[in-house]
């Protein structure tokens, strides 16, 4: 028992020595319309060949909805509207993706924190990447933003980008 604790402790030290953190803050624009549906959102890291290196978040309607005339419809039906994410990842993965799939979120700022000690960042090789945020809203718009990411960081980095209609301020914070 004592040995196990000790090993776990050294494991933690070793991990933090090379640990790097990524915080992505995604602002979903507040949109004043009569019919507002929370948007579908995908956040991922893409390599230089645009292949997905890690899915960070996919927010969509989780339960089965009952639409007009009692028609039953899976919330996942509309995931293809996140057309770049669908093309690069969604169409080839089994849903839901553990720790990545989640319910839709309201307008406002959402902070996503990741550490290289855990999935989905664990195992991402050193290199030049982009963080991609894609949004599609029912009876609304579609928007996609890309921000450069060098991984792992050798110093703290802060970067910002601003969307035009569906997205507000997107920030990246990297800590070695």
């Amino acid at each position: 028992m004592r040995t196990t604790c000790f090993l776990a402790f050294t494991g933690l030290i070793a991990g933090s020595a090379v640990a790097a953190d990524l915080t992505v803050s995604v602002e979903l624009a507040t949109i004043d319309v009569a019919e507002y549906h929370r948007p579908y959102v995908a956040v991922w890291i893409e390599g230089e060949d645009q292949a997905v290196a890690a899915n960070l978040a996919v927010w969509y309607q989780q339960n089965t909805g009952k639409g007009e005339g009692g028609k039953v419809e899976q919330g996942s039906k509309w995931l293809a509207d996140l057309r770049q994410w669908w093309r690069r990842s969604g169409r080839s993965v089994t849903l839901p993706i553990d720790t990545v799939s989640g319910a839709t979120r309201p307008a406002g700022v959402h902070r996503l924190e990741f550490s290289d000690a855990k999935p989905p960042l664990a195992g991402v090789a050193a290199g030049n990447y982009k963080v991609v945020v894609e949004v599609a809203r029912e009876v609304g718009g579609h928007e996609l933003l890309r921000m450069p990411l060098q991984w792992p960081p050798n110093k703290p980095v802060h970067a910002e980008a601003r969307g035009e209609h569906e997205l507000g301020l997107i920030t990246l914070d990297l800590n070695p």
Partner: protein, 268 residues
Amino acid sequence: MKFSPKSALLVLLSIVPLSAFAHKAWLLPSATVLTPDQWITVDAAISNDLFYFNHAPLKLDNLLITAPDGTAVTTENPGSGKFRSTFDLHLALNGTYRLAIVNAGLFANYEMNGEKKRWRGTAEALAKEIPTDAKNLEVNQTQSRVETFVTAGAPNLTALKGSGAGLELMPVTHPNDLFSGEVAKFRFTLDGKPAAGLKVTIVPGGSRYRNKQDEIELSADKDGEIAVNWPRPGTYWLEATVSDANTSVRQAKQRRANYAATFEVLPQ
């Protein structure tokens, strides 16, 4: 309604997309890129304007739908109206479906008792139906495919295998992976061999709302390949025709092979 041979001929001509100055035959699916286990509905029509059903329905008799595992699947709710045919399709399997209307047959012109006659049918029927004393008999062979593609989940290529007969499209770029600003490549084969030098015409949809056809004219290279730079997102109609003497029916002097397909190009 009284049946008249003349109206029958008109109907026949209007459903055959192969005359020299043919209207455009097309299949238009309600979506081309979908999540698994969805339904689509498809319009099938012949018209000058893309993609407006304002002329004649496309007959569904020779509709062949190939599922992602290569098996043939049937449609639901097929029907034909004044201007279009429609059908529904359940995408029960993950992968790419090919929807194709494949026609093959013979056209004949001849004279009987000084009267000009036209005939259309199969090679087997030719000998039986055209009188032996017909004068100036001229037989032409036609092969045509009108296609579109839809994918549920991840695309695959099983349904896109060629038959080796007539003009066919072989994907280099997957036909359900088309985005504006990216070049797509397709290879054409004629009787299974590269259709080198094939002239291909591509017309964007939405033609009612512009003053020009805006055709993209391309020539296939020696491998039968074309590279398409889609100018904008939207629907596109592609067509190519070959006329040659490579008939597979003894009586036919000329063969016309036609290929048409509808593509959807998504925005970035």
